[in-house]
Symmetry: C2
Subunit: 204 residues, 2 copies
Amino acid sequence: MKSSSSGRRGPKPKPGTRDNLVKAGLRMFHNEGYAATGVQGIAESVGVPKGSFYNHFPSKEVFGAEVLDAYFDRNEEKLRSVVCDSGIPPLARLQAYFDERIKAFETAGFVRGCLLGNISAEVADHSVLMRQHLSRHFGSWTRFFEACIAQAQDEGTVGRDLPAALLARFVLNSWEGALLRMRAEKSNEPLRDFRAIIFDVLLK
Amino acid sequence: MKSSSSGRRGPKPKPGTRDNLVKAGLRMFHNEGYAATGVQGIAESVGVPKGSFYNHFPSKEVFGAEVLDAYFDRNEEKLRSVVCDSGIPPLARLQAYFDERIKAFETAGFVRGCLLGNISAEVADHSVLMRQHLSRHFGSWTRFFEACIAQAQDEGTVGRDLPAALLARFVLNSWEGALLRMRAEKSNEPLRDFRAIIFDVLLK
């Protein structure tokens, strides 16, 4: 990774600016989209000149990859606290995770969706670097679900006809699709459909 | 709809230009994304000045909605010829539709995905007009699947535990999610997962 002392121009990076840029990028990419958000606007939103952005990041693409990491870090915290809580049965944990997400989308008005899904739609064909980060984070996310489903299979609450890894990938991909449709419909129906089919039919 | 004689500026619209613009927009939005594609570039790609674009369309948004219609028209042709072919059993028709789509994505190298899904991710929160078109086309698409699934239920090849409409919505949404993940992974695994779970588990 580029050290912060190797900035190409502008004043010496201020401590905190890098984090502020990533936070602003996360918010703006999630609200407005990747192509619709310019480096200038990101820098302005945290009160630094555009040159300061380039003191921290060699390109928008490298910055975008770091924003994806920051986004998934937050998601991972939720996954660890809810999906890995061994105090409750594995399927109930998985349901609790989705119920919390569904509630959050209802409260927010069915906007934004998942940044990993959005960037997959917008950028995955055009940036190998960002695609690698997307793939890694989708992989980690899947493994949280897989561990949960495998445990439910061990306990006998989910059948063993299909491998836990396949079920986990399908659950995550279908969730991403439900979020897309939610945004087109501005309705929780796609999320409720997802919940009904995944938990009442598939994970039985 | 705006008549072509009400153009605000530039030369009188040439016959064919409007169609060419829509075709170029469809190709460019699908390849590059909505925000990443400018009106200037669309006009240039069909060899007309930017002003000519605005003779035909009052805004990029109105143009985008028409591009979505053109995209779904093509999809609808496929749906009519494959999903509505009463010469073969309903589930086999649905499988044939997805098998053809999976083959096409394999041939293309797992790029582009579905324009309706991409625009849902990028624009659905920001344009009521485009969102209405997305919602309408997703609705029509769902009804093709629903008719097929209902017929399979009548024939007894799919159980009646769940309404055909719910199953159809879930199938379409999960397909959209599989396409997102396909683009992040550049692999047909998400499409194969989709096919396995939908046809070997859900539609049984």
